[in-house]
């Protein structure tokens, strides 16, 4: 990790206008405001277990010494203290910082930090077997388009609005699929907000269902844009979950009797339509 960090640091220490992107998905432990990221080889029974732990806040503070003035930390890790680590003493602010805080900075441009964590205080960031974790899954959807905000005529994923979109995605997932609550937290004290990504064709999650719910499994659905059919679904159990390019659509459901129809604007975060 130290060797990889040295290479990465070289890249993000080149120009002020660059963006440094740090993404971690793995095990984490937190007590109050100390959070550690556990690296491969971590062993709580070792003489110094913290030699395989990144001190997250210390690392983030030290990164102020890097020239890239836009920095985004996406941390997909638990913020709880598992019982087997309850005896570890974090009071001395332990762990590897990778880069020490320096008095002087290489520039006068104030750093803009988006510090986005996958879970609220003392919460678990949930994994999913053989799939990206829930946070990472939501992050990927957000970057595809669900996390877009509109500035003038452009849709872009911004660090200061991303947290809201991620929470909406995770909240929908929790309610629709009866999963545990997971709250994304951020963007931190030093966040002004900057553009992280501009998807060429933003894709918006769309959920189609019937009223009453029992009609959903019997319904045949079709979505049209400008009179042209875009996609269809035959009668199946569960809501129809799909992604559509940001635009206006007509949604049809045929259950009994005449087709039910609704015009929707598929826009971020999620567009839910009930017919």
């Amino acid at each position: 990790v130290k060797a990889a960090f040295a290479v990465w640091r070289g890249r993000v220490n080149a120009r002020e206008e660059d963006t440094a992107l740090f993404f971690f998905s793995g095990h984490g432990v937190e007590r109050n405001q100390w959070q550690g990221l556990l690296l491969e080889g971590f062993d709580a029974t070792k003489a110094d277990p913290f030699e395989d732990v990144i001190n997250l806040l210390g690392f983030k503070a030290g990164m102020d010494g890097c020239l890239a003035r836009k920095q985004c930390f996406l941390v997909d890790a638990c913020r709880s203290t598992p019982p087997e680590l309850a005896n570890l003493d974090m009071r001395s602010d332990p762990g590897v910082r990778l880069i020490a805080a320096q008095y002087d900075l290489p520039t006068d441009v104030v750093r803009d930090v988006a510090f986005i964590r996958a879970a609220g205080a003392r919460q678990v960031a949930w994994g999913v077997a053989d799939q990206p974790s829930r946070f990472t899954g939501a992050l990927l959807r957000a970057l595809r388009g669900a996390g877009c905000s509109r500035l003038d005529d452009r849709w872009e994923v911004r660090t200061d609005t991303l947290v809201c979109h991620l929470n909406t995605l995770l909240k929908y997932e929790s309610e629709a699929h009866k999963l545990a609550v997971q709250n994304v937290r951020g963007p931190g004290d030093d966040s002004g907000g900057f553009v992280l990504h501009v998807p060429a064709r933003p894709l918006v999650p769309v959920v189609v269902a019937c009223v009453p719910d029992s009609d959903t499994a019997r319904a045949r659905f079709e979505i049209k844009r400008g009179g042209e059919s875009v996609c269809k679904r035959d009668a199946l159990a569960g809501n129809w979950e799909l992604e559509l390019v940001l635009d206006e659509y007509d949604v049809f459901a045929i259950v009994d009797g005449p087709p039910r129809q609704k015009r929707i604007l598929a826009h971020p975060t999620i567009c839910a339509v009930r017919l």
Partner: protein, 390 residues
């Protein structure tokens, strides 16, 4: 164009004041769709110009909950109106909290209940308030302390407080203690003290902490800020920029609001402008000196005088607990940077040890300094609040 009257409805919630942010989609009869941000007043209906056609209003509360309402408006409609509202009626004393903060998730492994509360004031005997059982009010020196308990939630509301900042100690049924540096006193727009409410919820993850200032101007901005909805916080911040500047100008008399004012101006990227920044250092709270030191550390000119940065940070340490958790983090980072210049400076080393203890003990679920640690650590951070006698 038609005037659409939009109202936020919160049945049964008394005294609800503030603003929330929403998005209004308007699909006109000619097929053109527009989207704009709207700010709703929780007390009064507002009027918005819309084109006849479909209107969809989505309001995102600080809790993360999203309310929506839609309506078809015809050109002939005389006085169209649209209402969004809360589904449930919260307890009267939790009205604002219910709207502005995330509800507690019920869970089996709930944290311990607050057993009693002790308010520590400079130059006065500690004031002990019992929690649990039934609601009660205590009046002391013109200040009202109201304790409410319901199921998993305990709340302390302090009204009429104008003395120097107290510390509030929560004592739990399992023997644990937590210490809060509440943003008191907090003077509102007219200079009158606003109520400040501390809330402790038993939740699946232990206890959840929340602090609310009943200041209809600042509170919604801080609520959106605390949960990371910077878009909404910034939208509201633009509406209170003048109040934020006035609050910073009044730092000596109204320090907590001054620090909040600084956070608002920072949201708007106005924190580097004006000659008022040194006024922050006049704020009698630690926060003022720390934020001003942070401002100096941000610029080459400011860094050129490390003695002044050092002096401000040590002054911040001397003033005790910062009101805002972010200032504790900034104190630690600032001292680490100063220590890198002078590793053998004993005053800086001692202050850094204290700041590390402070940040390590500070809960991360509220923007206010709220300490949760063992007695030994609390004793190092706030020796003025000794553990209760056995």
């Amino acid at each position: 164009v038609t005037k659409l009257k939009v109202k936020f409805l919160a049945r049964g919630v008394a005294g609800l004041a503030g603003r929330v942010v929403g998005r209004l989609f308007n699909r006109a009869e000619n097929g053109e769709t527009t989207m704009r941000t709207v700010v709703l007043d929780l007390r009064d209906a507002i009027e918005i110009d819309v084109s006849p056609g479909q209107v969809l209003l989505e309001v995102r509360l600080p809790s993360g909950d999203q309310l929506s309402a839609e309506k078809t408006i015809t050109a002939r409609a005389a006085r169209p109106s649209l209402t969004v509202g809360l589904a449930a009626t919260p307890p009267k004393w939790l009205g604002l909290q219910h709207v502005l903060s995330p509800p507690v998730e019920p869970g089996a492994a709930a944290g311990a209940r607050v057993r009693d509360i002790c308010v520590h004031r400079a130059g006065a005997a500690p004031l002990r308030l019992a929690a649990g059982g039934h609601d009660r009010k205590t009046r002391d020196g013109g200040v009202t302390y109201a304790v409410h308990s319901k199921r998993r939630t305990t709340s302390l509301t302090v009204e009429g407080y104008t003395a120097p900042r107290p510390l509030v100690e929560l004592r739990f049924a399992d023997g644990a203690r937590e210490i809060v540096a509440p943003p008191l006193p907090w003077l509102g727009d007219g200079g009158e003290p606003e109520a400040v409410q501390l809330i402790s919820d038993e939740s699946a993850d232990g206890t959840r902490a929340d602090v609310l200032v009943h200041d209809a101007t600042f509170s919604p901005v801080l609520a959106y800020y605390a949960v990371g909805n910077r878009e909404a916080a910034r939208e509201l911040a633009t509406l209170i920029e003048d109040r934020a500047r006035a609050a910073v100008d009044d730092a000596a008399r109204n320090p907590c609001a001054a620090v909040a004012g600084f956070l608002v101006l920072r949201l708007l990227h106005r924190d580097k402008q004006g000659e008022w920044l040194p006024k922050l250092a006049e704020c009698p709270l630690a926060d003022g000196a720390i934020l001003y030191a942070g401002h100096l550390l941000d610029t080459r000119a400011g860094r050129s005088d490390p003695a002044q940065v050092r002096r401000l940070l040590l002054e911040g340490r001397r003033r005790g607990l910062p009101a805002f958790a972010a200032c504790g983090r900034q104190l630690r980072t600032g001292l680490e940077r100063v220590a890198s210049l002078a590793p053998d400076d004993p005053e800086v080393a001692a202050a850094l040890d204290w700041a590390r203890d402070l940040v390590g003990a500070c809960r991360s679920d509220t923007i206010i300094t709220w300490l949760s640690a063992d007695d030994a650590t609390l004793g190092r951070i706030v020796p003025e609040v000794p553990p209760p006698p056995e």
